[in-house]
Symmetry: C2
Amino acid sequence: MRDVEGGVCAPRGFRAGGIWCGIKAGSRKRDLALIYSDKPCTAAAMFTSNRVKAAPVLVSREHLASGLLRAVIANSGNANACTGEPGLAAARRMAELAAGEFAIKAGEVAVASTGVIGVPLPIAAIESSISSLADSIRADAAGHEAALEAIMTTDTRKKAAAVELEIGGKKVRIGGMVKGSGMIHPNMATMLCFVTTDAALSGELLDRALRRAVRRSFNRVTVDGDTSTNDTIIIMANGEAGNALIGAEGEAYGLFAEALEVLCVRLARAMARDGEGATRLVTVNLQGAPGEDEAECLAKAVAASSLVKAACFGADANWGRVLCALGYAGVDFDPDKTDVYFASSAGEVLVCRGGASVPFSEEEAKKILSQEEIEIRIELHGGSAAAQVWGCDLSYDYVKINGDYRS
Amino acid sequence: MRDVEGGVCAPRGFRAGGIWCGIKAGSRKRDLALIYSDKPCTAAAMFTSNRVKAAPVLVSREHLASGLLRAVIANSGNANACTGEPGLAAARRMAELAAGEFAIKAGEVAVASTGVIGVPLPIAAIESSISSLADSIRADAAGHEAALEAIMTTDTRKKAAAVELEIGGKKVRIGGMVKGSGMIHPNMATMLCFVTTDAALSGELLDRALRRAVRRSFNRVTVDGDTSTNDTIIIMANGEAGNALIGAEGEAYGLFAEALEVLCVRLARAMARDGEGATRLVTVNLQGAPGEDEAECLAKAVAASSLVKAACFGADANWGRVLCALGYAGVDFDPDKTDVYFASSAGEVLVCRGGASVPFSEEEAKKILSQEEIEIRIELHGGSAAAQVWGCDLSYDYVKINGDYRS
């Protein structure tokens, strides 16, 4: 497996583009994106677990029921959530508009939105720009870049990746883009992620691979504990790589599923790193748990703790807060056997052994925690399962960004 | 029922005091408190649900098993948590030292600590100051004030109250003090609360009244979602009011339980108001739920949401975040029937009807949300149960306070 350029346009047969249509009224930043496959695709998707679901989520879920897609249309600047019947009509209209440009069915188009909640979507802006959008799509990296820019809100970095691997002698590519920086919590909140591949898979296997990858990537990211109304991940597979259709578990499926997981983990880490106001990527690496579910739950409690996050911002080796967060995770474990390490490119330091303090150099710990990527490593000595969870620190800027988001 | 002065010293037969013994090494702020009853007390208590329990919690739980107490000794500046066997020995020693001063049994003394986790408790400082502490206790408001100061950490306000009511022709008093400002979440985190009363109750009824009051007060406060290793609430009843022993539910019990609930709600609100870095008290008032548990769970999700809290800081009428938080609370409700109001002393404004936006004056909403005490009122139209939850906004200062707490 090797990295390649081009994001969602890296796999054969996909084109993408993004323009400004006027939804982001205060700027001329791109706000409307399209990803299109020249051939019909097998598709799979996962949506927010929030009981309040945005209109595009409801519409895309409907369209995905067939397991087939040709395109995704997405806008930023407006979430089209809590917008009632007019919102639902607007989401359907978005799919129709995109379908009209390519003479495909509206049911073959998925829809996604991100931005402020509760404001009517200015569908007229999309109507008047849909032809320009369709004309703008390209099969190269520039097309991918334009689409990616058009789904960004408070994101400060472009988050995308693409890989190439060989399956049955054929070169297969998987490419993805993700947007999301605030309101991110296990279960993919305010995240839009679009993945393309030229591999040939049955819908069932594609769905299985997606669920496995999401569980170990996006569902292990936490920025602020809020789960959004809009999160969506969609994967489209058009089979252009020419590999024998993957229709059952086996070597080919294993290779594909692992590559997809690697790609999703990379995107998930990038999202945590780009958490609103974040100055550090914090990886919580929990080992020695009785099972993977327990490991994940404990690691998430640490990564999501406001007190741990604030300590990371201050590069303060306050390991007591780590133990405290483990303690309220709702999972049984033995605090008296628990060891905690802080690590980064600057080194590693043991700060707690058997649930109690050990002497360590505060200066060394400060240096370790002052890096841009830090790790909290926890060893429970209670089993052989492990989980990694990604989060970020809690900074002044998080408050600043979210204190007046709508203005 | 009327308010009276004197806090925990308001009920007859209680004395209290607080001194500086040197645990808070960097300042001369009081750090050691004692509350003492001249007569034996019936007692009840509740402790943290965190699996990591501080040594004083373990010791107090043991001592409370008998249901009898004479005194509480408490320190600030050090949580005596994650301190292993030496920590446990230090907590036991604190009880012994207090008992020695009054010729009572160590088992009649409860112990509490609050402060930094994982640092050995300097028990020698307590040993050398215990006589001064015992000598300092007084039955007046000054004694109460000194004890209250000695349990404060990042608290910026003194939080105490006392009430008087009549039960069976006798004047009964209940007084309380509470410390807590950060790391506060449902289940009383990093909260120390001591309540005294001169009412006569059986242990069983005292315990019942305490649990009822805590459920509707301290367990409905959220500051940052973290639940501490140390939280403790203890109530002592010495019977000095001369009322007929309350040994069964009935009018007398009802009067006492309600007064205790009123007192605890007042202390809980004060605690939320004093949340670390808080500029506003936020009351989430949820109505129309199918049951009280559901109402509480939904209201807590709103009060605990970092995005809602940051919007409150910015006085931003971002009601979409309220709906979003309701949506991930894990409770079934109908978003399309939900109304949301923002209210304060400056007025009330409907911002969401039936899950969708309604026109409102942004200027008016801003004015309402700019007050020091604001209310988010939610009407689900799905039943007749209600719950109130108290929280605060999320400000720059929260991050500042917690970014380098240990220094």
